[in-house]
Symmetry: C2
Subunit: 326 residues, 2 copies
């Protein structure tokens, strides 16, 4: 299966890494909006092509993995490319997913292509686990905890404060809350009871640190609803200790079964990730395989992870899955 | 959707409990090989019917949930019933699954019916999670830990020893081994390093307890490869403290991504179940919904959990899943 990568940031590099680990996949080309000459990729012998020339590659790519940002790139990019390619993206703006779905569906059906949106771990594997667990235990409650991990959105929000040179924000689940849920309790939590926020900030020399701290912890929606700690560090410390992008979290559903709801049942799906973009890239590549297969069967239009039969993710034939994986 | 339950032991009662929690499902009848007069079920107004009369119900049941044992019941029962009904079972004899699959497939295709075998949590949700995790992290290792929970097979093995009146065996994961795997290590474990076995035994008065203990801990395959503890208790203690059927466990995959495999990624799926048969029944009922839908679409033959698109498990329409679950 020939895969194209459209956009070569952290996520694009994660997809590239995943492709080389799947023997039935090969990287056909990387498309970039930057000057292709300035880009050096990891896979030897693979062309780096200007995004403007992507349509020349229509017959050489089975699935195009679109690695753009959800805020401004994907809403236009995915429908446009879905007219001409089988595509997959990681669109994560939850409230706008139905709108994105609709525009991608129309484009893909028009071009007789298959598209899959909002793939990764949340949305993606976490959504899938919320669905499975909810179907198995209809009488119950869902809890999603994120972290410990770097939130890019919250880090960016701190960087926009005057006097801040760089910042890294870690979302941290409150372990006591997680443990209560794991025991099968079904508490109502406030935002503050579920997560804390740890900020590491590099300030300009002479900046008013107390003002910066106050602007962070009182920022509505981002930090005000949480217990937030702010630690000022040097640029050297930032580079040495905070250059990675770990993340993860847990989806937990607890429900009752039996006479008088007498039995507690707890389902937990937990991710502990050293690299968020590389894991997301790995999920995208597994689902790219399914997109290619669905397209080959003539199953066109926009799909989500909910529409994909698990067998379509695997390189192994069905008989082998039944004999060795069931 | 009208559901029939074929066999009314612990699992059949678990299925019955799950049906009442799913508003789109209704229990049509319970079929038993015992005298129907002797059976009292929980759902008011539902007929208990002799298994011999099951064919009279062909037009009144959308999916039949077969709650027989894997050793002797299901290999004959499921193919026979799949000629006439859409069926689902929890066949768990791993080495014989391909053979069972083939005979059920032939019967279901012949009768234009849909069948799903080996559904529950292992095989079932654990298999599914091994598949998903393996597709996402092709370079990695899988670990399955069971327990703490009651193993019926091991309890039965103890009960066959002379002088034993009753027995309960708990499979217990070695917490230190689980923690090593959760940290992303990929150790090679012996059976002894992963699980211990705790046995509670009621012996006949005057029985040679040391002989019974020795026969248990030296039993090949069942106990010899493990560290096994044997505790003798009274029949009263057995009834008071060991009458429940808890179980659970974890499927953990750890893999590497990135340049030089520099990043560890850990995926864990964990179940903590107060009642093994009620949870298995809940999984069966969710998949019965999918079986009914696949049959309605004309997708006949034998299936496994790998063939079912997650959306088919949910009572919610696709648009709602996209808007609220993704």
């Amino acid at each position: 299966m020939n895969i194209g990568i459209y956009g070569y940031g952290n996520l694009g590099r994660g997809v590239e890494d995943a492709i080389r680990r799947n023997p039935d996949m090969s990287l056909a080309a990387v498309f970039t909006r930057r000057d292709p000459q300035t880009l050096s990729i990891h896979t030897p012998g693979v062309p780096v092509v200007s995004a403007e020339e992507v349509l020349d590659w229509k017959d050489r790519i089975d699935v195009l993995v679109i690695c753009g940002g959800s805020a401004t790139d994907l809403p236009g990019m995915t429908p446009e490319l879905a007219k001409h390619f089988n595509v997959i993206d990681s669109y994560d703006n939850h409230s706008q997913i139905p709108k994105h779905f609709e525009s991608v569906d129309k484009a893909a059906l028009g071009g007789k292509k298959t598209a899959l949106i909002s793939c990764g771990w949340d949305p993606g594997m976490f959504s899938l686990n919320r669905l499975y667990a909810g179907c198995i235990l209809p009488d119950g409650s869902d809890y999603t905890f994120w972290g410990k991990g770097v939130s890019q959105g919250h880090s960016d929000a701190i960087r926009r404060i005057e006097g801040v040179l760089d910042a890294r924000q870690y979302t941290v689940p409150v372990e006591e809350a997680v443990e209560r849920v794991r025991k099968g309790e079904q508490p109502d939590f406030t935002a503050r009871q579920k997560h804390t926020r740890e900020c590491f900030v590099v300030a300009e020399e002479g900046a008013d640190l107390e003002r910066i701290r106050r602007e962070i912890v009182t920022m509505p929606a981002y930090f005000e609803p949480y217990d937030t700690t702010v630690t000022f560090i040097s640029m050297e410390e930032m580079k040495a200790n905070h250059s990675e992008l770990p993340h993860g979290g847990s989806v937990i559903r607890t429900g009752a079964t039996g006479q008088d709801d007498g039995h507690k049942q707890v389902i937990e799906y937990k991710l502990t990730l050293d690299s968020n973009p590389e894991f997301t890239g790995s999920v995208l590549v597994a689902y790219a395989r399914a997109v290619g297969r669905m397209a080959a069967r003539g199953d066109f239009g926009c799909k989500s992870v909910f529409d994909v039969a698990p067998a379509d993710l695997s390189v192994l034939p069905r008989s082998e899955l039944i004999a060795h994986m069931l």
